[in-house]
Symmetry: C2
Subunit: 452 residues, 2 copies
């Protein structure tokens, strides 16, 4: 009995990630189906629900299933890497913030019924925080005698936030629970606060560049958040709920909330275009609105307490996932940026009972372990071991989930020099490669990603 | 102007982790101080608060500061590694669970005022989930036609849970928000469910072994959770709120809730000892209590729906952090297991203005970058760049925070063959080593950790 025969009952046990071991309930929703509670459906939402990336729990509230968690973990990793580079420090603030803090800044009233609130057994009212300016200011205020030497201080967290949206919609795009990266900066004066602000904006540019989907940084309105300066990061998409104006003459790019839509507020040109954007990041130079209300001070050289100058910077992490899928996907096929795809490549071995089965089996195990040795593919290869399905059926599924690379081990694996079919969804190409060429293909891709 | 002089204004910029760049508000609390809301104080809570690991936000609710997040991240990493080994898949369930699910299992009433509840703008009542048996059962029930081939299914998450404790106490040990790793298993019959149960228990043994603090697995009572079999994982400590009975004759080790405290329920021996334990993990073989109530079924070979057999397995992650500090620490000095210490080693260079300053500066930069190349120390070395303090003062601080290794660059750095003083807090030793010996010391330690 050879290794193939031994393994035949439970195939491919040596391969780390096998599709049959992944909980991915596929659930085809008829196109004209009405959603629960009349939620409006976006393309990304429909595809992510149908293909088992997320699953609805309640209106505006979703389970992340294993493939969704993998994509999210990749995004979190990018964020942590870039935050480290600017010396931002990771913290975790509690979900529940005492309502008295929000009362003191006036936001308990401003947010009104958008806030989830609860009363504890001691009759204290808390909010499920949608953001943490009050909490972090109160934390800083609680530290006695912070010297000017401690600044700039940059604290961030990646935690769930909550908002009782009137109309949750578009899945993760506007949910009632969402994952946000929120960073708060503290500086001793406005000049250094502006310096920190620019540094964080550069960091956001780096994060969006790593994600790899074209983004737009535009001037934003400070709105109810307050402060003196604000920028927004957008992905352009028809379903975007913001409208962005770009002036073809002076280059001004801004949310129409800030500048209007008919002519450029900077150069008065009427040569402007309007497009829809999905807001995925927002930065605010806040000044002392929160630090003054909550007494977040530092001690200057004469030991006199002075209000700190704050910045607040948000990235909608769960929204980014939905937005990149929205922007890149086709009507019936999801697409992911290479950096966030749940798996970079999927391997499809021959169907059981086919004449290629045994040769394909050995080849598959070898090529899986070879590819796993490449840093760009380590723990990023998935094997579609549903060998009771034809190769064709499995290719269709792989295209729908949008794994960037599909490696098919088909009839050409029987040749003297076995060939693999490599489908590159990003380039929309399909080529036959031998083992050596296949490895080289990925090595070069990896080099290019790192060089870019 | 040499490199040292150039760098003198902002020293040690080449070193990745510098203490002056870490937000760690030290806050000495008088021993007889009354806590807010009469919270009871444990040693770990006092030390973690005083030394800037956590900070209180509200009763039973804490900010994790950067050093606390680092320790927590190490614990999460261990958990993820071991979960992967048993094929458990990571998911994220929403914090808010609709109250109707908890009503259907009777637990809305059972938990009563321990639950945080809220009502949304549509007058729907939700709970801030303390655990997710209902949510996961509802998820499985929502997937139509799961075949028996899909099982065993193991889904886990590491998310915040909530409980409106009457008396929050001991800091992270019994908070109102806590981080939990909760795993839910589904099997097609009780026999395979028991097999999965044993596999997860083995996995928990591996996790606690990696954490490295002596633990005890004891028989537990199923209590309100239900089911037929339960085990608890404990750290023994005086402040532990559970009492554990061990029979010296037959070896039975169990929570007294299950077996009483006067004689062994297995062999009737009265040769028993009682000790206090902090419960940090709990496993339950649940049977079909939840799956039946919420219709979590699979289809057998005849396509007939059958209730799934569940297991539920919790690890109190934030509680583990507090418990290991509680067990290991001295009255005024924190101690961490090597695996969870915020940094493995701290380096203390000479005081500014001392005769060793310049020689020590170059030596410090070199030894930092050398040690960073060791896998066991990569991104795990902290430099105490508060060079305005004496070496002695900084050693006291380092001992209080409990970095397992303290490397002092003192007067012996001026010798022909410079020597470092290495304080090993775990062995309570202090030895002088040259550069080569220092590297070897850590290399050997790393090998031992991996061999054990």
């Amino acid at each position: 009995m050879n290794a193939y025969q031994k393994a035949n009952s439970k195939l491919y046990l040596s391969v780390r990630n096998r599709l049959t071991r992944i909980f991915q309930p596929i659930n085809i929703v008829p196109k004209d189906a009405k959603r629960k509670n009349q939620e409006i459906l976006s393309r990304s939402q429909r595809l992510m629900l149908e293909l088992g990336i997320i699953r609805q729990a309640n209106p505006g509230s979703f389970h992340f299933l294993p493939l969704g968690v993998r994509a999210l973990d990749k995004l979190l990793h990018i964020v942590d890497e870039e935050m480290l580079k600017i010396g931002a420090q990771k913290v975790i603030f509690p979900t529940l913030t005492h309502s008295k803090l929000w009362k003191s800044t006036g936001r308990l009233e401003d947010f009104g019924s958008e806030l989830f609130t609860l009363t504890d057994r001691h009759n204290q009212m808390y909010i499920l925080s949608p953001t943490h300016e009050e909490a972090v200011s109160d934390l800083i205020a609680s530290v006695s005698q912070i010297s000017y030497k401690e600044f700039p201080l940059k604290l961030y967290q990646t935690t769930n936030k909550y908002r009782d949206e009137i109309k949750p919609r578009f899945g993760l795009m506007r949910g009632r629970q969402f994952l946000m990266k929120d960073l708060y900066s503290f500086d001793i004066d406005l000049e250094s606060a502006k310096h920190t602000y620019d540094e964080v904006c550069d960091c956001y540019n780096a994060i969006f560049t790593k994600i790899g989907v074209p983004f737009h940084k535009v001037m934003g309105s400070v709105g109810a958040m307050g402060g003196s300066l604000s920028h927004e990061y957008h992905y352009k998409a028809d379903i975007g709920e913001d409208q962005l104006m770009r002036c073809s003459d002076c280059g001004l790019h801004a949310n129409i909330d800030l500048v209007g839509r008919d002519k450029c507020s900077n150069c008065n040109s009427t040569n402007v275009t309007i497009s829809n954007g999905i807001e995925v990041g927002h930065t605010f130079l806040l000044g002392d609105k929160y630090s003054k209300a909550l007494k977040a001070n530092y001690l200057n050289e004469k030991k006199k307490p002075i209000s700190l100058q704050m910045g607040s910077y948000g990235l909608g992490l769960s929204r980014i996932l939905a937005a990149v899928v929205e922007v890149l996907s086709q009507e019936e096929e999801m697409r992911w940026p290479l950096a966030l795809a749940p798996y970079t490549a999927i391997i499809i071995p021959p169907k059981e009972g086919s004449k290629e089965e045994e040769a394909g089996y050995h080849l598959t195990e070898r090529v899986c372990s070879l590819l796993e040795t490449l840093p760009c593919l380590e723990n990023n290869i998935l094997l579609d071991d549903r060998i009771h399905f034809t190769i064709g059926r499995r290719i269709i599924d792989a295209r729908r989930v949008g794994y960037p690379f599909i490696i098919v081990i088909g009839s050409k694996c029987m040749e003297q020099m076995p060939l693999f079919e490599l489908v590159d969804l990003r380039r929309n190409t399909s080529i036959n490669l031998n083992e050596e060429q296949l490895l080289l293909y990925f090595k070069e891709m990896f080099n290019n990603v790192h060089a870019s």
